[in-house]
Amino acid sequence: MTTHYLVLSALLFAIGAVGVLLRRNAIVVFMCVELMLNACNLAFVTFARQHGNLDGQLIAFFVMVVAAAEVVIGLAIIVMIFRTRRSASVDDANLLKY
């Protein structure tokens, strides 16, 4: 069963990554990042169960904490950018280039 879980987690991670690459709306990109984080949590929990060692679950717990902090800051930035630029598209902020 463990391989199934891991493959699922890999699949979710890949979809999240593709989502980050394809979507232009900052918030959707942010959600895809959250999806990738969750995929990792799933893998951690699976390994915890596999090795019979609670560390996996502990790590997953910490990941959630960090994810929360990250979301707060990320969304604050998105709001701030939106307020100044009136657009939440990721591609609009491309002044720092050649």
Partner: protein, 278 residues
């Protein structure tokens, strides 16, 4: 046996939801899709005897973080759908190639590892009397520093968000006298008509009438009005439907004419700032 069934059901649901998250046009739909994924994962945690995590996932993650997303979506304009046409040349193609490649690689990696049957955390949790005490004992003995650091992290995150979102008051707070002066120098001295003042109806979606009898575009919520028109929930009385359509058209005309800021309902405070700013 039950576990495999739940796994396969939830796996399919979560993958579909993930795909939906990535490919849906509207941001709100993506948010909901993410919620679905999170919930299915929570169940999977539970199945993998991590009840505490399942609970935290549902309460904290889905409950709080997802809702945060929805809030920001609302702020940013829930209807801001973006077209799926790709602007960067070759981005889509290479993104998919990379995604597939990565997934294949991981699958390959996982594939060629032969797993012994899972040991399961049962034995450890019994010794400590349940999953939560075991986790608690670990957190507060071996990982107490990490725990304290995460608490500091959360506080700073909260503080950070406030600092980021805070807008320094550039001018003194508008006093009562200023507000009065602004109102009478502004285009709209009298308070805006309440939804029902000359309202023929007390429904939220019905536009109020201006003293000169014309429909007030600002008195309705454009998003709701648009939904009604699109999904044909307009009131049966054609005359009322016409009023909604008229208000909506007038709002969009004004929006085109004045540029974006006409979208939001004008607060007096902003009017003051705008005037002084000129």
């Amino acid at each position: 046996m039950g576990e495999t069934i739940t796994f396969w059901v939830l796996a399919v649901v979560s993958v579909a939801a993930a795909l939906g998250l990535v490919f849906s046009r509207k941001a709100v739909y993506s948010a909901l899709m993410l919620g679905v994924v999170m919930l299915s994962l929570a169940v999977l945690y539970a199945v993998q005897d991590a009840p505490f995590l399942a609970a935290v996932q549902i309460i904290v993650y889905t409950g709080a973080v997802m809702m945060l997303f929805l809030f920001v979506l609302m702020l940013v304009g829930v209807d801001s759908s973006d077209s799926l046409v790709e602007t960067i040349r070759g981005q889509r193609f290479w993104a998919i190639v990379a995604g597939l490649g990565f997934a294949a690689l991981l699958a390959l990696a996982i594939g060629n590892v032969v797993f012994t049957p899972a040991v399961g955390v049962g034995q450890v949790t019994q010794a400590k009397g349940g999953n939560i005490p075991a986790l608690a004992e670990m957190i507060f003995t071996r990982h107490v520093f990490a725990f304290e650091v995460t608490s500091a992290l959360l506080i700073t995150a909260a503080l950070g968000a406030m600092v980021l979102a805070h807008r320094e008051r550039v001018r003194p707070k508008a006093t009562q006298r200023d507000l009065a002066r602004a109102r009478f120098s502004g285009p709209q001295p009298s308070p805006l008509p309440g939804p029902g003042t000359y309202a023929l109806h007390n429904a939220i979606d019905m536009p109020a009438l201006l003293p000169d009898g014309s429909v007030s575009a600002k008195s309705i919520n454009r998003v709701l009005a648009r939904h009604e028109l699109e999904d044909d929930f307009t009131p049966t009385d054609p005359e009322k439907a016409a009023m909604i359509r008229e208000a909506l058209a007038k709002g969009e005309a004004e929006e085109r004419e004045h540029g974006v800021e006409a979208e939001q309902p004008i607060q007096a405070k902003d009017a003051v700032i705008k005037e002084d700013g000129q």
